[in-house]
Symmetry: C2
Subunit: 340 residues, 2 copies
């Protein structure tokens, strides 16, 4: 290992990140224990633990937000702080309750911008029905951190079986709650100076309480928000953990007409581009229509994109527009750094 | 507020940091609710919340670690990650249970160093009887973050009345569990190139389980670890929140003979220098001897340094070696940046 260095590809939600996380986990010697309903070794969106009195389970999840730029079309880092953590709790089937906020601020950062971000955090926390109950603030000398990085850790209460990535069943339908890749695409448009040629905005939003009725319904088998690594990474994770095949149809995928040209021009695959306000929901097929109807009230773009089939196991297959098939996979490295 | 910038003094555990935190809290509109035993407005070491079923209270606390250098005499950033969070839980009277770890790594960071840090995190977590149950990893481009920053958020279970900063009573004795300022002094020695002239090491350590017997004992009225801002800041915080006066005696303070000259030469006040493995314990005077005896088994330097008196309220008074008195206060700004 001597002289091997961490590179950007290890932060991108792809295979290289899995390798890095594996090394970190083994070095720490993380392990599951009997009290774990979903232990750290499951690498799900959060850990689910039985409290000593056995009456209540809690979910813990953590996220650090390093987005650049911190203000973007459709939101700012404060939106990500709330959405990232609330969505991870929601994806586990939990009721999001409390958040802690750890801010690391660069010397010279404008107080005015800090106030804007904090107001967003407060406002979006109230909308998501969570409360900030503890915090930490550090200031680092100029040039040792870029602008501001914010960690948010969330605690949720869980009263149903946790919704796990490993629970997709053959015959289930795969739903996406809205357009794919808008967060990442709008962010790179801004970074590459293309923001004036597009009105595309990030999709960042907390999915709680809008998914409340759906997550408490046990007909939901899996839920995952396609963040770093996009739809391709999230579906691959589910296929692998559930030991099934996911078959999706390219013609069914909902894209924003402004997002695709942005990723195309930069040689990126929109299926690997991050959303910050969408969920993949995998449901028992007999409930598909009812759930879809509920989702379309929130977002007209919600739709069924595919089905869980038996073979080939652990794979995601996409029927392409031109009638071929393509295997989707986790990206190897980092399509876009500092996207969340 | 236009054009006012965050400066380093706002990260130092002093009055300027209080102002910054106040602004952040008001912008977020943090507030207490009925379920809070110790709410966020108390600004204690952690928040204590009643879970919905009322049978169990939990404590949440968060800390980001930005220490520079990351390897130092007596430990590395991994020791701080565990000690910082475990100690905050311990200071509330909680049983530390679970930690989340959020790592933000600079591109180019040596994997070998990352593994060393993770091994320390794992080993120190096991010693402190806590388990890492969730994590997050981000990689930032070279030059946008210095080395590595790690957030740790902790959850503890609490079965006694929380130990609050506001609970010091007139007549109580003030105990310190070991030498003062070793962490900060050893770190600046290293930064200033004085490490070869000293064998001083950081005092960083998790105070759980070694304080277990003492924290579950209700004769403890207050507990606080003197981290950023040192003994002066921690005692001032207790005096203000408890609305009493703390009187300490300089002759009783335990210093490492190597620490004082280091801070003196740099014009720093050792009373404002951070410890990372010490606690101030304020106890009912009739239990002083018994508790001190227990503490001295762990560290011979543990001693009584003063008494809680009535007046002048909200002040910390020190009887000096030469027979005078001096009012201690929170430092205004940042004596040493990136100390934890």
């Amino acid at each position: 290992m001597r002289d091997i260095k961490v590179d950007l590809s290890m932060g991108g939600g792809g295979k290289r990140m899995d390798q890095l996380i594996d090394l970190i986990g083994k070095s720490i010697r993380i392990h599951n224990e009997e009290e774990d309903i979903v232990g750290p070794l499951q690498m799900d969106d959060g850990a689910v633990i039985t409290l000593p009195d056995k009456t209540k389970n809690i979910v813990l999840t953590t996220d650090s937000h390093t987005v650049d730029p911190i203000f973007f079309q459709g939101g700012n880092i404060g939106d990500l702080v709330i959405a990232g953590t609330v969505n991870d709790l929601t994806m586990m089937g939990a009721i999001p309750k409390y958040l802690t906020i750890g801010m690391i601020i660069e010397e010279g950062f404008l107080l005015e911008d800090l106030v804007k971000i904090c107001k967003t955090i407060g406002e979006k926390a109230r909308l998501a029905e969570v409360r900030i109950i503890a915090g930490d603030t550090k200031v680092m000398p100029k040039g040792t951190i870029s602008n501001i990085v914010i960690n948010s850790t969330g605690l949720g209460i869980i009263t149903r079986n946790p919704i796990q990535d490993s629970n997709a069943k053959v015959g289930d339908k795969i739903i996406i709650t809205g357009e794919i890749g808008n967060h990442g695409a709008s962010l790179i448009a801004l970074r590459e100076g293309m923001e004036f040629s597009t009105s595309l905005a990030s999709d960042v939003k907390a999915l709680w309480p809008e998914l409340k009725d759906i997550t408490i319904n046990n007909s939901v088998h899996c839920m995952k928000d396609p963040t770093r690594g996009g739809l391709a990474a999230a579906l691959t994770e589910i296929a692998t953990k559930s030991n099934i095949c996911i078959e999706i149809d390219e013609l069914l995928l909902p894209f924003n007409p402004q997002a695709v040209p942005i990723t195309d021009i930069l040689g990126l695959d929109i299926l690997e581009i991050s959303c910050e306000g969408r969920a993949i929901i995998i449901v028992d097929s007999k409930h598909t229509f009812r759930i879809l109807e509920q989702l379309q009230v929130i977002d007209k773009a919600a739709c069924v994109i595919g089905t869980v089939i038996e073979e080939p196991k652990n794979k995601v297959i996409m029927k392409t527009e031109i009638g071929g098939t393509r295997i989707l996979d986790k990206p190897y490295g980092e399509p876009i750094p500092r996207v969340c």
